[in-house]
């Protein structure tokens, strides 16, 4: 379960977060759309505990141990192999050795990375690296998944495949918060949608099966206040 209550944060005079509150239950995926600089990444960083908010509270059951992060930067060590990366990040989250090996094998096969397991990350294509990033974010079986513009830098097919993997492997049974400025990419995954501008939720509503086009339209109306 994820709870955000009255979150406020500012960098000097710029208001990154202006009283943001919401709660998410397991299985829910909130997609947050907003222009660049609306405070989306700050929101994610506050939820993940990277930034201490000026006011308000962000609370995740299980604390930092239960948070997985996938961003446009894969947060992997290029010189290490895929397996070494997973082993290293897993051990940082104090995953016991036996579980670590089992989860590693399971993730590698589910994400189709078996034949790349012993290649160094540097040698992999952008699409494959994103898959390793998913594996890295799931190695410690997090209850909450935070996605910061994960589709950037992926071509159409890779993005499509990446979204499929996210839907199947990642989002199931977890609380997920996806942040992006590109409405098309985020809509399929979302169970709830929120529009954010200047650090505030201008609108938040369940998706109710609305397609990307409808959401984009609602987004334009909400953000421009038309």
């Amino acid at each position: 379960m994820l709870l955000a209550e009255g979150l406020r944060h500012a960098f000097g005079a710029v208001h990154a977060l202006d009283d943001v509150s919401f709660t998410l239950q397991p299985g829910q995926t909130l997609a947050v759309f907003g222009p660049n600089g609306a405070g989306k990444t700050t929101l994610l960083k506050v939820l993940a505990g990277l930034i201490r908010p000026r006011a308000g509270r962000a609370q995740i059951d299980g604390g930092r141990r239960a948070v997985g992060w996938i961003g446009h930067q894969p947060q992997l060590y290029a010189h290490l192999t895929v397996r070494e990366n997973l082993r290293f990040w897993g051990s940082l989250y104090d995953v016991p050795r036996a579980d670590l090996e089992r989860r590693e094998a399971d993730l590698l096969s589910r994400l189709g990375l078996n034949e790349h397991a012993d290649r160094s990350v540097r040698a992999l294509s952008r699409g494959l690296v994103q898959r390793v990033a998913i594996a890295r974010a799931l190695i410690h079986d997090p209850r909450v998944l935070l996605l910061d513009e994960p589709f950037t830098g992926l071509d159409r097919t890779a993005a499509e495949e990446f979204r499929r993997l996210l839907a199947e492997q990642a989002a199931g049974g977890r609380v997920t918060v996806l942040v992006t400025h590109n409405v098309e990419e985020g809509t399929e995954l979302a169970t709830d949608v929120a529009f954010m501008r200047a650090g505030r939720f201008v609108q938040r509503a369940p998706r109710q099966g609305r397609g990307a086009a409808e959401i984009a339209d609602a987004y334009r109306r909400a953000v421009t206040g038309a």
């Binding site: 960098f11 000097g12 005079a13 710029v14």
Partner: protein, 222 residues
């Protein structure tokens, strides 16, 4: 704006007192027997050196409080104190060799006070360079605070290493724990000069602080 005015006033008072100290040191203080007239540089060199060091310690103290309180005023003060400290360091590093030449025959001597001031000067340069290299205000303030605290903690070690290294400096006349062996008149002039440098430090820091404040208000960052 009020701060700026007070800063200017204090500086004006400081500069006029400086003229008074010049007159007093040159005309009304007896000439020292062994070093002759060159000894009069002592009245400027020593107070400037004291404030160069005090400036660094104040930067360190302000930085410690900044890390706990995250109050931008402390960060602005630290920056101002560093810049003014470096200014006084320049005075020490120019008057020092000028004083050393006639007395010891060499422009640069590895004596305790000069080496210490040289190191302090390098720390100030590093501090201001670091501030210049980081644009994001919050990050810059935290980095500067970390460096400021480290700088302050280094000062005692510099004292240790410099005094142990062979020093040509005549035993520190005034700061000796036993009675200062400086005749009354000279000691009074030195105290007066120290007061002047204190006033100047306060005046400069206030103005420099107000300048940063003005700059932040006129073009707030995007």
């Amino acid at each position: 704006m009020r701060l700026l005015k007070t800063g200017r006033w204090i500086t004006v008072v400081g500069l006029s007192l400086l003229a008074a100290v010049y007159v007093r040191a040159l005309a009304f203080t007896p000439v020292e027997r062994t070093q002759g007239v060159a000894q009069k540089i002592f009245y400027l060199h020593v107070p400037a050196a004291i404030w160069t060091e005090t400036g660094m310690i104040l930067v360190g103290v302000a930085s410690i409080f900044y890390l706990f309180l995250k109050d931008p005023r402390l960060d602005r003060f630290a920056e101002a104190s560093a810049e003014v400290g470096m200014l006084f360091g320049t005075i020490v590093l120019t008057t020092g060799p000028i004083w050393g030449k006639p007395i010891w025959g060499t422009w640069w001597t590895w004596d305790a006070r000069l080496t210490l001031t040289l190191l302090l000067f390098l720390m100030y340069v590093g501090y201001l360079l670091l501030r210049g290299a980081v644009t994001e205000p919050g990050l810059r303030a935290r980095y500067a605070a970390v460096l400021g605290i480290s700088g302050m903690c280094l000062v005692p070690f510099v004292h240790l290493s410099v005094y142990m290294f062979r020093t040509l400096h005549p035993q520190p006349i005034v700061l000796k724990p036993s009675a200062p062996s400086l005749p009354g008149a000279m000691l009074a002039t030195l105290a007066f000069s120290f007061l002047v440098f204190t006033v100047l430090y306060v005046g400069f820091v206030t103005q420099r602080y107000a300048l940063t404040l003005l700059r932040e208000q006129t073009e707030p960052h995007a």
